[in-house]
Amino acid sequence: MQITAALPVAKMVGANRTVLGNGIVHVVGDAGLPAEKEKELRRKLVEQALRVLQASEND
């Protein structure tokens, strides 16, 4: 699966498991957040990625 801020590119090449990342410059982070909040955000994105990995095509 792919976490990316450029979702249209991923879709165009046929990626079938995707999660929208938080910006090109920090796809699983956010330099504007305090460290703790940033890690929470990263964890949320990764947990989303793990759910996407478990899904089957019909989900």
């Binding site: 699966m1 990316t4 410059v25 920090h26 330099a31 990764v46």
Partner: protein
């Protein structure tokens, strides 16, 4: 003009799937569709040899078959090599494409093949070869061979090849300079006006097409799964040991994170010329989420995080290159018994 023609077991009349394991053989003269091809190529064309190979054998023993075929084609003193048409037959298309590329590169003679748009050989070889659009119906054999013969004639005579839609070949995705009467701005306004009016217009941007890849089944048991992280954001250890290029990278690297729970900016650098990397340099976990993956591993939410991440730089890279690297990475992951991969892309 001396021509060598390549056919699979089916079109050569050997048989169907039960003959797909047949090895490469050579026959003198034209076989099956080769007879019509010979006529269409014109009076001075002669098919001096037909090479025949079973589809499975050709794909499974590709290097051997290619070497053997090239040597036979050289020996036949061919001026032209023709493979197919393959229509929708995938293995036939892949073998024909690989053979054409090898002959074109090693012998420097013109080559032509024909396939349906959806043939997997198209995706692999359209950039390198002229592939006549054969359509998917074998009933259109004459039409396919006519297109192939016309293109082959031009290639042999060294004439320039026109646009795909005029010449009946599959768009190669190449951009060619051309003089036109109207500026880009004028053409653009015309297109917008046509669009507003609902009139037909043709975009000058050729969207690349990608064959759909079916999704593999979902990971059943994440708690026992081995997961790997990959990034195309160019994160590499300080000093860039594999010299991964920041643009049009031809290489990728695999870097240990054994006993590491949190990536430190001081240990890494970014080899990627396409985004502002200052934030990832400060904290590489913003690109490769090692810290939270380790947390999830400790908590038992995932079985194991593989102790290396893979990295390359995804910028301005030809597809042939990225596909090769993708295949190499997938092979490595398979060999390591990885169950799932998270790719982070900038």
């Amino acid at each position: 003009m001396r021509v060598v023609h390549y056919l699979n077991q089916f079109f050569a009349g050997l048989g169907g799937e039960e003959q797909a394991g047949a090895g490469l053989e050579e026959r003198g003269g034209a076989v099956g569709p080769g007879k019509l091809l010979e006529q269409l190529l014109g009076a001075d064309a002669m098919i001096v040899a037909t090479l025949i190979c079973g589809d499975n054998f050709a794909v499974e023993n590709s290097p051997v078959v290619i070497a053997d075929a090239v040597s036979r084609i050289r020996h036949a003193r061919a001026d032209l090599f023709v493979a197919g048409p393959c229509f929708l037959a995938g293995r036939y298309g892949m073998a024909s494409g690989a053979l054409c590329v090898a002959v074109q590169t090693m012998l420097g003679i013109p080559v032509i093949t024909g396939m349906a748009m959806e043939n997997p050989g198209v995706d692999l070889y359209r950039e390198t070869l002229y592939i006549a659009d054969s359509g998917d119906s074998t009933a259109k054999m004459r039409q396919a061979l006519t297109r192939m013969a016309a293109l082959a004639g031009k290639l042999v005579r060294g004439e320039s090849i026109g646009l795909p839609r005029d010449e009946g070949y599959i768009p190669r995705g190449l951009i060619r300079d051309q003089f036109v009467g109207r500026t880009a701005g004028e053409r653009l306004v015309d297109m917008v006006l046509a669009k507003v009016k609902g009139a037909p217009f043709e975009s000058e941007m050729m969207p690349m097409t990608f064959a759909p890849i079916p999704a593999p089944p979902g990971v059943k048991d994440l708690r026992n799964a081995k997961i790997m992280l990959i990034t195309d954001g160019g994160l590499v250890p300080k000093g860039n040991p594999d010299k991964i290029q920041g643009s049009a990278a031809t290489r990728w690297g695999s870097y240990s994170v054994k006993d590491c729970n949190d990536l430190q900016g001081i240990d890494y650098e970014i080899s990627h010329g396409g985004y502002d990397a200052q934030f990832v340099r400060q904290d590489p976990d913003r690109l490769v989420p090692l810290d939270v993956m380790r947390e999830l591993e400790r908590e038992g939410a995932i079985g194991k995080l593989h102790d290396e991440f893979i990295s390359t730089s995804g910028l301005a890279n030809p597809l042939s290159n990225t596909r090769r690297m993708g295949r190499e990475m997938a092979a490595k992951a398979k060999q390591l018994g990885i169950d799932a991969i998270i790719v982070t892309s900038t």
